[in-house]
């Protein structure tokens, strides 16, 4: 092997063990991995498979309580497990840097951001405080933080998750490493921010020729950004391949299984092939929302949080209406307000001809059985001391006319409808799996035979397999009970699967609304386009890094307390013009029936 194609970093038969003697468990076992100079490699694996342990192990580090039991880690011929501490320090954070997974807890809670970045920079260079500060500003700016000078004095608890992630990335880049280990650098971030950060990482790695090991659970990230992939399962690498062959022909059964989750797309395609099955029965609106506005007061202040702003839409009988948008966009508030769990600040809502926005409490109570909700975390809304029978039967107290036995009948009917055995009636939901709990929550929502159910991120806490099962179940229930759904999700795949029409929300407003095909296949509004483009499909034929990225947004989402004057996207929009700055964007319906909130789309400029 010539030095030219020698790997940069190589781990051989690594074994890391937590605990001592009898309690000892191996987290990494026979772990082999090598990274070549300048390549972008991906490491994929499920939660708990040892990815983060591996990330630190590549720097010769383990958490307290763990130790290396066997194996070697070689970096350019030096054995990191047997290197003097001083030499190791010159490698860590300098030649090999890491972006830790728990970014916020990886930052010292009592020290400001500038000090922490500066400390890393100064550990590897002969510089003073002033220079380190200048470097910190430069780094913060390079990872897309606005006003980096001011951010220097911020403490970690004052940062948003995205910002904390950027700060850690800045720390990792401080000394221009040759290898960057990025441990789920974008988990928990919204897709548009994720795309910004990963684009950034990819661009700067390619520009400086440094190598990256990108750790993730998301095959979409692997497909779009990596050259090569390592698949990790239970502490060991079970497959390594270049991305193209990997996605077309995965070798290991585990790889095949995780890739099979792409079937979600396949099912979708099938659904698309049978438009009659998926098309909503043509009918009048069941729920009609006009110019809904909801603000929340801020304590000790005159200002308000504008959570929902001039939102209008309707949901027809038997239809699934999807609400997508990133965190804080107001989806949940819309869902809660149309159920009158929150009182609307302004606007009108009619449900089956009734003026829902001004309905008195007593009448609202009578209406409750027709309006139900399913939450993201089912246990939030269940008394942990209750049995399955009590949980599902609870809404039936709204149905006075049903006899005791009829109620029991209903509970069993629904339990079977959601695919659970009636033998679990006396068990406790808190002891069940997340998927079963969500089924129970769905059974409870459907037990009164409602006309309208709000599904607020019902699958966000579930694994991909369970998500699919729940979606199929929801679709079946919709046909059986001819119920309408307001389906709220930030996960575009689930919305695409279940919904007939879709609205995209940004900062409390609907920016685009249309049929699923209109919005997903040819979005018009710049935000909708960015959101859809940022969604990373596990598909190597159209990689994000290979195409020209025109839809990308800039900067951070503004605070809903301090909104821009004109278009809310102004400042982040790739298509913005001077006119957008101060012109409030009105809702306009285009010829093809879709609605948008952008004058440039209306005038056909984009």
């Amino acid at each position: 092997m010539t030095p030219d194609n020698a790997p940069l970093l190589e781990a051989n038969q690594l074994r890391v063990v937590f605990g001592q003697d009898a309690q000892a468990t191996a987290v990494l076992d026979n772990f082999n991995l090598s990274i070549n100079p300048g390549e972008i490699a991906g490491l994929v694996g499920e939660p708990g498979s040892g990815k983060s342990t591996a990330a630190f192990a590549l720097l010769g580090l383990v958490r307290n309580g763990a130790h290396f039991e066997a194996g070697r880690v070689h970096y350019q011929g030096r054995d990191l497990l047997n290197l003097p501490a001083a030499e190791l320090r010159q490698i860590r954070g300098n030649r090999i840097a890491i972006i830790a997974q728990n970014t916020r807890s990886s930052l010292h809670p009592l020290l400001d951001v500038g000090t922490q970045i500066g400390n890393v920079y100064r550990a590897h260079t002969e510089t003073g405080k002033k220079q380190a500060e200048r470097r910190a500003i430069e780094l913060l700016a390079s990872v897309g933080i606005n006003d980096p000078q001011r951010r220097l004095t911020a403490f970690p608890h004052e940062l948003s998750t995205g910002m904390a992630q950027r700060v850690v990335i800045a720390m990792a880049l401080a000394a221009d490493p040759e290898l960057l280990v990025a441990d789920e650098p974008t988990s928990g971030l919204d897709v548009t921010i994720q795309a910004q950060l990963l684009d950034n990482l990819w661009d700067s790695a390619r520009a400086s020729g440094s190598a990256v090991l990108l750790i993730t659970q998301d095959l979409g990230i692997i497909a779009n950004y990596c050259d090569r992939v390592f698949v990790m399962h239970e502490g060991t690498v079970v497959e390594q391949q270049a991305v193209n062959p990997f996605f077309s022909a995965p070798q290991h059964p585990y790889s095949q299984r995780i890739l099979a989750l792409q079937r979600r797309e396949a099912v979708e395609d099938e659904a698309a092939a049978h438009p009659d099955r998926i098309a909503p029965p043509p009918s009048q609106a069941l729920l009609d929302v006009r110019e809904l506005r909801k603000t929340f007061p801020i304590k000790h202040s005159q200002a308000v949080v504008q959570a929902v702003d001039r939102v209008s839409f309707d949901v027809r009988r038997g239809e699934s209406f999807g609400l997508v948008g990133e965190s804080g966009s107001g989806k949940t508030t819309v869902g809660r307000t149309v159920l009158r769990l929150e009182t609307p600040t302004e606007g009108e809502m009619s449900f089956d001809g009734l003026a829902l926005h001004s309905l008195p409490e007593a009448e609202l109570r009578r209406l409750r059985r027709r309006l139900q909700i399913v939450f993201q975390d089912p246990m939030d809304s269940m008394d942990p001391r209750w049995t399955v029978r009590q949980v599902i039967g609870e809404p039936l107290r709204l149905c006075d006319e049903l006899s005791e036995s009829a109620r029991d009948q209903r509970v069993i009917e629904l339990l079977e409808a959601v695919g659970l055995a009636s033998s679990i009636l006396s068990e406790y939901p808190k002891e069940m799996s997340a998927g079963q709990q969500q089924r129970i929550a769905i059974a409870r929502a459907m037990v009164t035979h409602p006309d309208f159910v709000v599904l607020d991120e019902p699958t966000s806490a579930l694994t991909p397999e369970t998500t699919m099962d729940i979606l199929v179940l929801l679709q079946r229930l919709q046909q059986e009970y001819s119920v309408s759904y307001l389906f709220i999700s930030h996960d575009l795949t689930t919305v695409r699967f279940l919904c007939h029409r879709v609205a995209v929300m940004y900062l409390g407003q609907i920016v685009e609304m249309g049929t699923k095909t209109q919005v997903f296949d040819a979005p018009k509004h710049p935000y909708a386009r960015a959101l859809l483009a940022a969604h990373l499909y596990p598909d190597v034929s159209n990689r994000r890094v290979d195409r020209e990225r025109t839809e990308t947004l800039r900067g951070e989402v503004p605070s809903p307390v301090d909104l821009p004057n004109g278009c809310y996207l102004y400042g982040r929009c790739p298509n913005q013009k001077q006119r957008c700055r101060n012109e409030v964007q009105q809702w306009s319906v285009l010829d093809d029936g879709r609605g948008v909130r952008c004058w440039r789309v209306v005038e056909g400029e984009i």
């Binding site: 630190f56 720097l59 580090l61 958490r63 307290n64 309580g65 501490a85 190791l88 320090r89 010159q90 490698i91 860590r92 954070g93 300098n94 840097a97 890491i98 830790a100 728990n102 807890s105 990886s106 930052l107 010292h108 809670p109 009592l110 020290l111 400001d112 400390n119 890393v120 550990a123 590897h124 403490f155 608890h157 004052e158 850690v168 720390m171 990792a172 401080a174």
Partner: protein, 339 residues
Amino acid sequence: MIRYVAMRLGIAVLQLMALAVVVFFLIRLMPADPVARLVGLNASADAYAQSERALGLDKSVGEQFIAFLGFGEGRGLLQGDLGRSWVTGEPVAAELMRSLPITVEVVSLALFVSLLIAIPVGLIGAARPNGLVDRGAFMWGLFAGAQPDYWWGLLFILIFAFTLGIAPAPLGRMDPLIIPPDPITGLVLIDSLVQGRLDIFVSALHYLALPVLTMVFTVSGAIVKMIRQNTARALNSDYVLYARACGLSERATARYALRAALTPTVTLIGIFFGILLSAAVTVERVFSLNGVGQYSVRAILDFDYPAIQGAVLAVAMVALLVYLLMDIAHAALDPRIRE
């Protein structure tokens, strides 16, 4: 920050006021006859009535309360007057000015020495879990907690004063033959230094050694345990691991851990100051220190209402002040507290 301090001070004043009210009525609920206690059971009805008038106990509780607060003719709480002791006839405030500093001195010194020992022991225990120091500290905590503080006090007197003869007999806070320094702060250790009286300073330290030792002995086990916990948490934290992963030097990493481990200690100081204040009651008794603990015991046994009220308020004020100072220090050290 200034607003925070002002708010906290305001709350402290309200707390003191509430406490004053509660104490005032609580002691009057006691099935006690302070007049009989003072004039003796064989006193004539005349003498009894006269004494009752002198103490103001002939008036209704409401009127007494108004007088106590200072809304009546005489001076009261509002004017900063705690009244006169029914037993000694001296102003309670003046008596407290003599007794309170003694307690504050013993307690502060005990806390200081405890931290001096507990911080290194706790740090080493966390750095080497199950090492010699860690196990030793654990055993010590169990051992010291097994007996009440006065028991240890008596044992120490037996060993150090009578058997070994290296500590003075428990006869107060300095050699009875020394004339105390002029009170400036009331704290002998400080006053003697200010006046350049090294001999008094040494003697006072000598006499305080055993009471302080007793308190340190019983309380530092618990402090060690808490510091050890905080340190272990810091050492196991993601930010220390990440600092290592960034190649920060051992010294810098240790500083990260120390900073996080010791910041919560300031709240510990407040808590343990309170604990030691209550321990002072028995320790003062064992060592014949005329601190506020002894003073309160005396006042209660004598049904000396003004003295009881004064002592309770004085102790509460000291405790609240210490809590406040520690909270301010904590806020200065921890940005998360500041909001």
